[in-house]
Subunit: 245 residues, 2 copies
């Protein structure tokens, strides 16, 4: 793990790093409480990156309001990472198939499953490295990710026993219901009632497939990108409750 | 409106009353802030009454934590009210039909619609009377009711422009989707994922039918009576936010 820069604002320290060839950002309290801190891994959305405004806003609130650490790394072919020829080819193929009238949901799901084969081991390595840092430590781990962050997050949370609680959503069951059935930690699941990218029954089916005894579905009106801001308050309360030391 | 008794505990003043022949309970802060107070009308569940433990717990928290007033009256044939021969006859008929293999949901829905013909005007009269009291006043009004309280609450909220925000749930669309389509205030809607009394698609359809732009569906695993306690915290935050003066 190699640190590239460190800056601070509003009590939040941000360190940019690379781990092998993966670029990432780590946010921790400037006036650090005693480690270990709860750590939330954030999975960014499709076409976004580790310092996407939504990711940045959530990371800052997790640090300032909960005293947690937060980390996000670029997904392959996103942010500062090089293009992946196979992804580009698939994306072009999928666009053509949707233009020809095919349903987008199964294509998106298959693409997420492909990318997850790389991100699951990458994110596990990120947890290993970040939890070895003196100012973070080996505390409880949470995961947050919607849309692409859900498609990649479901197999990650299913594979990673260190994750104790997860916020997921804006994703469907097609690619990941098998992995979802292996998730048993508390989950907060967001669904947009008029999601133009994820059919409603697919989102409901993914929530249904989670094996967690504690799982709450929060549905709100509006499209894929219109999750109401009040859900972020609930996300902070959720992590504060489940990652309490 | 005739007051029968007044007691106080933990900062909450409880007054039992009758309005015409309707027995009710009113809860207000003992050390009353300046009226008008926000007022939440609570609709109790089937077979329950105005001082059901769930109603009582919520009323006390609304008073103590939000500084609101809360009121609940017995539904006809519940609590201190006399039996209604027509209801008894229908209940016996419905039991026989369910025993003979009929789906219970449409029977429950038809029964709620019948009872609502009495409760909607009764509850409107309760609002009139309580909001004329010096220690309550004509403040913003909220409604809370699940199960029977939802079956009766949907037509009430649809009919009553003074209600600014409502918590509903554990109910289906069969009887009330037409009334639901006239509800435009913010709604928090609770659904139990394994509800043995309300089919899941009926609950989802009732949420769908609400015309409100701000409406959140909260689904949790478990049966009709197993709403997790954390939902009550959310209910308090919901009323505090929407009934702020």
């Amino acid at each position: 793990m190699r640190f590239l820069s460190a800056t601070s604002s509003d009590g939040v320290r941000e360190q940019l790093f690379t781990l092998d060839d993966i670029p990432g950002a780590l946010w921790t309290p400037e006036a650090a409480p005693a480690a270990p801190l709860p750590l939330v891994l954030l999975g960014h959305g499709g076409g976004r990156h580790k310092k996407d405004p939504e990711v940045l806003a959530l990371a800052h609130r997790l640090v300032r309001e909960c005293g947690h650490a937060a980390v996000c790394v670029d997904v392959p072919a996103h942010g500062d990472r090089p293009k992946v020829e196979e992804y580009d080819r698939l994306a072009a193929e999928n666009q053509a198939r949707v233009a020809a009238g095919e349903e987008p949901a199964p294509l998106i799901a298959a693409f997420h499953a492909l990318v997850a084969r790389r991100t699951v081991p990458e994110w596990r390595a990120v947890l290993d490295a970040v939890r070895r840092l003196d100012h973070v430590g080996a505390g409880p781990v949470g995961y947050w990710g919607v849309s692409l962050g859900c498609g990649l997050g479901v197999p990650f949370v299913a594979a990673e026993p260190r994750v104790r609680a997860a916020v997921l959503g804006l994703g469907g069951a097609l690619a990941s219901s098998e992995a979802a059935a292996r998730i048993t930690v508390p989950v907060r699941f967001l669904l947009q009632w008029h999601d133009e990218r994820v059919p409603r029954d697919q989102g409901l089916a993914l929530y249904d497939a989670l094996a967690s005894q504690q799982k709450t579905l929060h549905a709100n009106p509006g499209g894929h990108a219109e999750v109401p801001p009040s859900e972020q308050d609930g996300t902070l309360r959720f992590f504060a409750r489940h990652l309490a030391r």
